[in-house]
Each structure stands twice: as C-alpha cells, then as structure tokens.
Amino acid sequence: MEKKNFKLNAAFINRNRSYLLLVLIMICGLFAKNFYTPYNIQAVTGNGSLVIWLGLGFTIVLIAGHMDMTVMYMSTFAALLTLGLHADQKLPWLLCVIIGALMGVLNGLIMGLLVTKLKIHAFIASIGMQLVLRGVMYVYCNGKELSIGKDYTWNDMLNGKLIPFLPLSTYFIITTIFIFGVMVILRYTRLGRNIHMVGGNAETAWLAGIKSDMVVIAAFVISGLAAGLGGALNGIYSGAANVTMGEKGISPFYMAFTACVIGGTDIYGGKGSVIWTYVSLIMIAFLKALCKSTELQVLVIGAALVLCLVYETVAKYNRDKVLGRRPNLYIEYKNETGNAK
C-alpha cells in the first residue's frame, strides 16, 4: 500500500479547506461571548440542519453532473404539507412526514424523467419545476402561514436531546445519520460509484454499460427525498412554515450551493463528497452565529465563495496554460503543488 506523504502546501490546504475553515471559526468562537454554551451549540446545529438536507441533495445531483435548483421550494412545500395535513386531516405525525418525503421523491422522479427522457437541460427543467412547485404551494395554503397547532409531541421530541450528555438536538442527529448513510451509498455501493462515473463522463459511462438514465434518475430521487424529508422534519422542528421561507435574508439555496463549492465538489461533476458539504454547512451555521447582523453574514459567505472560486479557476487556468505549452514543465509543476488541481 502506498504511503501518503504529508506535505504542508497549497494543495493540502485546498484539499482540506472545509475542515480548516471549521477550525478557524471554532478558534474565533473562543473570543465570542456565550459561544461555547450547550444551549448555543444545540440551537445552532438544529437551525442549520435544514440547509444540510438541501446541501446533500444539491451535492448528489452536482456529482451526477446536473443542477437541481428545486430543493429549496421542495422542502418548503413538504413542510407546508406536513403541517397542513396534521392540522386539517388529523393524520398522525409519522404519516404526514412520510407523505412529505414521498412528495419529494415524486418531484425527484419528475425532474429525473424531464432531464433524461425529454432531454431538457437540468438547469432549465429545475426552473420550470420551481415555478410549478411555487404555484402548487400557493394553491395549497393560499399564502397563509401554517403553524403546528397544539400537538407538541414531535416538536418536543425533535428539539430535545437524544443522548443526555451531548448538546445536540434529535433533528440534527437524524440529519447526521442520514448524511452518513448517503455517504456509504455513494462510496461503497455500485449505485454510488455509477453516480460518480456518470458525472465524470456520461458518454464513457454509457459505453461502459451503465444505465446512465437510471443512475441520473436515482440521483434526483435521492435529492428529492432529502429535500422532502428534511423540509417535513424542519416544519415540525420550527413549529411554523410559510411560503416565503428563505426569501428574506440569505436564502437556504445559496447556503447549500456555497457549501458545495467550499467543500470542494467539482462543479463539472464527477468529484465530490457529501461529508465535505456537511462540514462546510456546519461551518456556515457557526459563522452565522458568530456574525450577528445579516448584512455581514451575506458579505462573509459571499467573499468565502468568491475566494474559493477564484482560487480554483486561476489554478485551472495556470494548469491548462502549463500543460498546453510545456508538457515537461507540467510534471515539475505537479510535483511542486501536489496532485490536486
């Protein structure tokens, strides 16, 4: 087995930037007041959980080489549906959550079919589905804000601690378990490797005998399931849901997208990990707790995103330039900066 030699250089920092940023935020937290209290940690991780579900879906579809912008509206719709069904039809919570998740699966299936069978570009298809979902949402609840009512059993359960000595809410722990489940699927199963392969080069994957249509549909379904389930649980967790969730302040979609890029998921598909997105999203959640004003949050997150993109783009530009003119120099360049980028 080849031994990985450790070298502290730009490539190492770039590869582990999500972890390093998390450490940086944690160090900054030492100087903030009341940052390391159990209550704060529980609140921050719990409130950041919705975005983790969205980031998970976005990352999987990005790995498969497409873009899914419906995740935000899907989660809002699932939250509205869950609360509405419980209030109006008196269904038990479990059934409501399952119906919310199934709506997510349905949305993912429609997106997958639009992209693979009708050959509409994923970005365009998701814009269309966004409009449809928004319409359905408004028709369902007439623009009202739905609240949880008087039944607080599941709300207490999700807000409470699962493990007594850990300051983490049950909602966050469910999120983490789901993330690791998806990580195992992506890394160790045939479907997961196929998703990576289709994202890297769809034509090669097809020639190698992968049913690329099915794989892309599966990626969209997992994304929809994550958005639906996360949205449904978030509706119960926060106790209220309305149609304009996330249109004020910094939208959850932007946070999910930023985390994908900061985490290191390749924007052209084929490379990435949900764990990187997960760590970046926890970083962003703590960052939001650290900067009090929304204005500063937007600026800092935007600056981090732009810096990451500029670094990646310039590195790619330089690599292409060296590779094109002097192939022998490229080997030197590679030795100097390491393998990544």
Binding site: F123, R134, G135, T258, Y268, G302, L309
Partner: protein
C-alpha cells in the same frame, strides 16, 4: 486486414443514426418558432377577454409589464447566445445600477443615469474577465457574484431603502423628481417611455447582432469555442463585450425599476433572472449557444407578457399563475428541444 478495417472506420463519414422526421410541419414550426405561439395566444386572448384584448389600456398594460423583462433580455440574449447559459447576477446588477443612480442623484439627472450604467458595466467587466479570460463556469461564477455584491450593498448601505428625495440637496430636488418621472411618462399620452426604450434597445441589439462583426464572431464562439479560438477570433474580447452589453442593459432596467418603485435597495430585481431566461428560452435561443435571433427573443418576451395577461383575464390570482406558467414553460421548452432533435439540429 484489421488495419484496413480500422482505416475504413476512421475515414468513413460519420452518419447520424438518430431517427429524424423532416416534414413540412416540423420545418415550419422550427422556422417560425415562438411567433406561432404568439398568434395562438392572441386568438386565445381575444376569446377569453371577449374582444377587449386589443383595447388601448390592455395593450398598454401588456407593454408596461414586459418592458423591464424586455430590457434585460436585449442584453442577456448575447450571454445565452455565446454559449454561457445565463447570467444569474442580473438581479444584483439591476439593484446595483439603481442604488448607484439614486446615491449619485446630486450629480444631476444625467450624471445619476451615467453612474448607474457604469455600475452595471463594472459588474459586466468582472464577469467578462472571469468567464472570458479565466474560463470560470458561467452559472456558478455569476451566482457567486450575485451573493458577493448583494453582501457589499447590504453592508455599505446597512440594508436600508434609498430614497432620491432624501439624498438630493435642496437645489437638486428637480432632478430627483425627473428621475422618478421616467417610469411614468407616456409619449403622446399613449405609449409608455419604458416600452419605447425597450423597443429601441431591441433595435440596437438587432443591429449589433446582424450587422456587426461582433455578432458574427459571437455566433462562432457560441457554436464551438475551440473552433473560434483556432480560427483567430479574440474570444476573451468578444465575451467581455457580450457581458458588458448585458451589464448595461440590466442596469438600464434597474434604473427604471428604481424609478418605478420610488426607492432603491438590494432586493430590487429579485426574480428577473428567471423571468428573462424564460422569455429568452421561449424565443427559441438555444442554451448550447449559437442559435437564436433577436426577433425570436421579442416574440418570447411578448408571449411571456401575453400569457400573464390572459391568465389575469381568466381570473387566476398572482400565485396560482406560477403553476400554469411553469407547465407552459416546460412544455414549450420540450417542444423546442423535440423539434430540433427531429430535424437533427441538436
């Protein structure tokens, strides 16, 4: 033997084995494209509204509703045409143009407009440099710019609404009033200034697209970037120009929007990126680049406005319109893709 076969394989012309159906209907549909839908919508509108569709007030409201989207489309066309999909920083370009124009109202009316346009051009230059020179992913980069500039505007102006009459000095109140009035002027009492500006911008855009070298070069770049590069076209420069035109057009729309809303803030222009992209795609501009025309884009903008108008006549609320819009959008995009595939064009 095997070598011969290999040679045969490589020299044989590549035959597209996909099934194509070239008949009169598909050809006609592909050529006329969106204008069929426009005529269809006019007929539906006449039936639904009981003949009032061509009334003076109705046409005015349609034109006013599409004016801002049309202004954005006149510039965004070039970005889509050059194969860079879309510009997600349109909302923030609009907001930035409006904010800068209102902030600089003390330079006089003309000065404010010029500063607003320059602000739009600045964002265009940033986008053009990163996408044209450094070959960043267009959608991802413009999304990032949207977030960053939004943060800058929020921090600098503390998320406040800007009102021109508050910022203007005593002797500059006239220019503030003039600034507000540009979105409410009717030329000859009939047609809104916004609609005129939109049409003029489309006309200029049409001239640039068809009569200049820039438009022709952009077509090659959009069709095949590598070919354009190796045939000696300065791709970086053309893409920069495309993005600067886009920034200028978006900033114009932003200034009109700020004047219409009587205030400027970071949230001006939210949703205009998707609206403009919808109109452009309805107009038959290919997302892969290099295919489409300004005439089609105008048709797309009109169809978009008329669809909204007809849905209002039917009596749907603002929000349930989204549902119908989304389904119609998906259907038309599918029709476009399908007819292109059947003709072997895509």
């Amino acid at each position: 033997m095997s070598e011969v076969k290999k040679n045969e394989n490589t020299t044989a012309p590549k035959v597209d084995t996909r099934k194509t159906e070239i008949n009169k209907f598909t050809l006609l549909f592909n050529k006329l494209g969106i204008w069929i839908i426009v005529v269809l919508l006019i007929v539906v509108g006449l039936i639904v509204s009981g003949g009032q569709f061509f009334g003076k007030s109705n046409i005015q409201s349609i034109l006013e509703a599409v004016a801002l989207v049309g202004m954005v489309c006149a510039g965004l066309f070039y970005v889509t045409y050059s194969g860079n999909m879309t510009d997600m920083s349109v909302p923030i370009t609009m907001a930035f143009g409006g904010v800068m124009a209102v902030q600089c109202i003390n330079f006089g009316f003309v000065g404010a407009i010029v500063v607003g346009l320059l602000a739009g051009a600045l964002i265009g230059v940033i986008n053009g440099f990163m996408i044209g020179k450094m070959r960043a992913n267009a959608i991802i980069w413009t999304l990032a710019v949207n977030l960053l500039i939004s943060g800058v505007i929020r921090v600098v102006w503390q998320g406040k609404m800007l009102y021109a009459e508050d910022i203007a000095r005593e002797d500059m109140q006239d220019s503030a009033n003039l600034f507000y009035s540009i979105s409410r002027t009717y030329i000859g009492g009939v047609i809104s200034l916004m609609a005129i500006v939109m049409l003029v911008m489309f006309f200029i855009s049409w001239i640039i697209h068809t009569k200049t070298g820039f438009g022709q070069k952009l077509k090659i770049i959009g069709t095949n970037y590598e070919v354009a590069k190796f045939s000696g076209i300065n791709c970086t420069r053309q893409l920069m120009i495309a993005y600067v035109i886009n920034g200028l057009c978006s900033a114009t729309a932003g200034i009109f929007y700020a004047a219409l809303r009587k205030c400027a803030s970071y949230e001006n222009g939210t949703g205009y990126d998707f609206d403009a992209l919808t109109a452009i795609l309805l107009g038959g501009v290919s997302l892969n680049g290099g295919k489409g025309s300004i005439a089609g884009t105008i048709g797309g903008v009109l169809a978009y406005g008329m669809l909204n108008n007809i849905l209002s006549w039917v009596g749907l609320g603002t929000y349930s319109k989204y549902l119908v819009q989304g389904i119609v959008f998906l259907f038309i995009v599918w029709l476009n893709t399908y007819s292109n595939r059947k003709l072997g064009k895509a």
